[in-house]
């Protein structure tokens, strides 16, 4: 691989990895056994940091126990928007050592890292110390006992507040926002605990205070699942039928009350076979309709999706990916349902596949997906994943995309209505039940323009070509990918790996290597020509994704979109992709070439 370089080429690539400038950010992890309050602590810290003017990202991990098991939150804060986890953590606040080894891989520590823990928690597990992290044991629980309603996690939060330079005022606001509903006593106790924690002096560490970007704008605190739900509502979805499944259920739980407020509805189906067919029914009835699921549920929807394709009934399926195959690792992230989404229908069944590029982009991609599905009377599968869906972001509010979502509807006056009429753009007007003069029967059997079942070769070819052409000929504009930077190195990626790739590109550029990122939002149909144009002058092409077999890499080859010299960087879940690892991989490739 031969990356193009900026004006100041450096020849000592060997050490480049280490010298790469990194985004200035602070990463904090909080762990604890069930009931230790690790998650609440994290949520309060996220809230406080956002009030202090920072951006933040928070992901979560938990053991197998349904309740009472160990859990961890992984957070990152910066003065600019931040969408993914870093290579390492600056601080670990450990409420106890209960099964903390389970999280050792997820919370890499090094000699610059600080561990804050309770002095009564016992011996620190060796894996945490092996890279030289500094440990400060404090009398958190002992002190907590000494103050009324005191809880060790609030004292720990106080310590973090001091380390991160948060004010008492910010902490008080955060407590009120997070615990307000639980009453004044709870709030007062928490504040007392935090303030006591802020009195601890934790010496001998690096400065963890960020410069706040002064901004008047209000921030949003949103999860990817909420963002997908919001985008769907913006796109016009007013009917949802679904069956609960981790990690997609929160989309449904957020949408249920909000759909109702907007005059829509949510139906809890008996299974996924029902949910996909229910939304086909809802959409046939004229209401933009959607479901949300994860791998096992998407598997069960495959037959229904084929029906929607053949009957040209628009539906949107949000698939929040988790570790596969089969039941796999339900609580952890992986981008391994791409194959199923692209190819998992029997027969030649053209449809749309999209993926949000980060938590904030869930709003946009979800709205766009509904819009495309409605306009094209097509199936749209949206591939989010656990790392987007169940993580939270503190971010600038998303812009309004404001797509024209309306589907082409037949009106009552139509003569000799033909549901599947050939038209210039291959989209036919769809009659909505209730409209006089345009009755028809939708069908999953092959049919002619009118919709009458037909097994004739001519009808089959005509209607297959129609269904394919309406997607192929549509002008998707600029949204098919987020592109930035100039060649040299090209990173092609999709979905949740996009944010990591952005950071990889920043680091490479900062070290003088021109880097272009092509983050695919519309995976099918693929904009092959534009993609080829964007990478043709790049000396190295790396396809980055979070699965084992390189599903995107193979798909891009299937479409003859990338040259033979492209290389694949594919790693399975459940650990997140780390920008540093990818940088290292790329530099090693560059060195091998020299």
């Amino acid at each position: 691989m031969r990356p193009t370089r900026n004006e100041n080429p450096k020849s000592e690539h060997k050490n480049k990895v280490k010298h790469l400038k990194k985004k200035h950010s602070i990463s904090v992890a909080i762990t604890g056994a069930g009931g230790s309050g690790a998650v609440t602590t994290g949520l309060m810290l996220l809230d406080a940091m956002s009030r202090a003017g920072f951006y933040g990202y928070m992901s979560r991990s938990a053991g197998p126990q349904i309740r009472g098991g160990e859990s961890a939150v992984m957070m990152r804060f910066a003065s600019q928007p931040v969408f993914n986890t870093d290579d390492r953590f600056d601080v670990l606040l450990a409420m106890d050592w209960h099964k903390v080894e389970r999280f050792a891989d997820e919370i890499p520590l090094d000699s610059q890292s600080l561990i804050v823990c309770d002095e009564n928690a016992g011996e620190i597990p060796a894996p945490l110390l092996q890279n030289g992290a500094v440990c400060r044991a404090l009398p958190l629980s002992k002190t907590a006992k000494s103050i009324e309603g005191g809880r060790a996690n609030m004292l720990g939060l106080g310590v973090l507040a001091i380390l991160l330079g948060l004010t008492e005022q910010a902490m008080q606001q955060a407590v009120r926002a997070t615990l307000g509903k639980k009453g004044d006593k709870v709030v007062a106790d928490a504040i007392a605990g935090i303030e006591r924690g802020m009195q601890f002096v934790v010496a001998g560490t690096q400065d963890l205070r960020l410069q706040p970007k002064s901004t008047a704008q209000k921030r949003w605190n949103i999860s990817g699942n909420e963002a997908c739900g919001l985008g769907a509502l913006r796109g016009g979805v007013r009917f949802v039928a679904a069956y609960p499944i981790t990690p997609a259920s929160d989309i449904l739980e957020w949408m249920a009350p909000n759909l109702e407020k907007l005059g829509g509805s949510l139906l809890q189906a008996e299974d996924e076979l029902a949910s996909i067919n229910m939304i086909i029914g809802g959409s046939f009835g004229g209401v933009p309709s959607m479901t949300a699921t994860s791998g096992p549920g998407l598997s069960l929807m495959v037959e229904g999706l084929g029906l929607a394709v053949t009957s040209e009934t628009p539906v949107v399926v949000m698939n929040v990916m988790r570790g596969g195959p089969s039941t796999g690792i339900p609580t952890k992230s992986e981008q391994s349902d791409l194959n199923l989404a692209l190819y998992g229908l029997h027969g030649d069944a053209p449809h749309l596949v999209l993926a949000p590029l980060n938590i904030l982009d869930c709003v946009f991609t979800s709205e766009w997906s509904v819009s495309l599905s409605e306009q094209l009377q097509a199936v749209a599968i949206v591939l989010s994943d656990q790392s987007l869906g169940q993580s939270r972001l503190v971010t600038d509010p998303p812009d309004y995309a404001g797509f024209n979502t309306r589907r082409v509807v037949a009106d009552a006056s139509t003569q000799h209505y033909q549901r599947y009429q050939l038209t210039e753009n291959a989209v036919s007007a769809m009659a909505i039940p209730g409209t006089p003069g345009t009755t028809y029967t939708a069908d999953g059997l092959e049919h002619d323009e009118r919709g009458t079942p037909s097994s004739m070769a001519a009808d089959h070819q005509q209607q297959m070509a129609k269904r394919s052409r309406k997607l192929a000929a549509f002008d998707y504009g600029q949204h098919w990918a987020h592109v930035d930077g100039q060649g040299g190195i090209a990173l092609i990626t999709w979905g949740s790996s996009s944010a990591v790739c952005q950071e990889v590109a920043e680091r490479l550029r900062d070290s003088g290597m021109q880097t272009r990122v092509v983050a695919l939002r519309l995976l099918m149909p693929l904009n092959v020509q534009a993609l080829q144009g964007l990478i043709k002058d790049c000396t190295s092409i790396v396809v980055v994704e979070q699965n084992m077999s390189g599903q995107l890499f193979h798909y891009l080859h299937a479409e003859q979109a990338i040259p033979a010299r492209a290389v694949s960087y594919a790693r399975p879940g459940p650990l997140p992709l780390r920008p540093g690892d990818i940088v290292e991989f790329i530099i090693a490739g560059v060195q091998a070439d020299e």
Binding site: R51, K218, R219, W220, N221, E226, L230, L233, R234, R238, F239, A241, N258, E260, K261, L262, G263, S265, L266, L267, A269, E270, D271, L273, A274, S275, N277, M278, I279, I280, G281, G282, S283, F284, G285, G286, V287, S289, E303, G304, G306, L307, S311, V394, P397, A431, I432, P433, G434, T435, P436, T438, T439, Y440, T441, A442, D443, G444, T452, P453
Partner: protein, 272 residues
Amino acid sequence: MNEMIKPKDYKTDIKPIWCPGCGDFATLSALTKTLAFMQLKKEQVSIISGIGCSSRLPAYIDSYGFHGVHGRALALASGLKAARPTQTVIAVGGDGDGFSIGGNHFMHACRRNMDITYIVMDNHVYGMTKGQPSPTTEPDWVSKLTPHGSGIRPFQPLAIALSSGAGFVARGFAGDPSGLAKLIFEGLRHQGFSFIQVLSPCPTFRPEQKLWKQQVQPWPFDTTDDPVLAASRIHADEGLTTGLIYQRELPVWQPGAEASDTLENIEQGFLV
């Protein structure tokens, strides 16, 4: 538009694929008769089906329709009714479609009690796939797939409907089209889920069903609204009686309130 609608107005020009003598013709004409009797406009009615000989019916009625995939008619119908409550939604299909692959949706549609009428043309066989036993087939009926018969006691559609919470349980017979039309009319009038099992002979694969003409008897009781009584009657019944067996008003599930808020307001919830 002010003229009376006649049964033949609901006919399409598509020729049914059905064999001569197939019982499904009777359901088709009972249905068009009832729609005409009720003067339902074509565009008010949606007929939803799965896959099977019987499931081809929607294409033969000039109304809105959906010929979906095997076993999922009730799911599709439920989604449609939820999203568009003003439609008269009728689901139709066969015993294989409704009780074998579609059995789960059958139970849950009964419980959910949306205002849908479900008509199953039960011929105790898979007609379309050329003669395998269905859930309602007698255990000793021999087919290529079951050289000694299935050996399994038949599925009891009425008992399942009742136990699942349906509020309208009836059985009709293709050999008595006007009785059938009456049941369909009652079903369409009933608020909530109405289930009508139609004994619909398949002369091609079950020629012995021609005897039904002699065997079918009226249900020997009045319609009851007592589920306990209905349960014991249905459990004692042998399957060849017709009538409206059980009818009871039960809470109908139908979502769709007026909008009470705006998206902008909802979005305020994300502000820190």
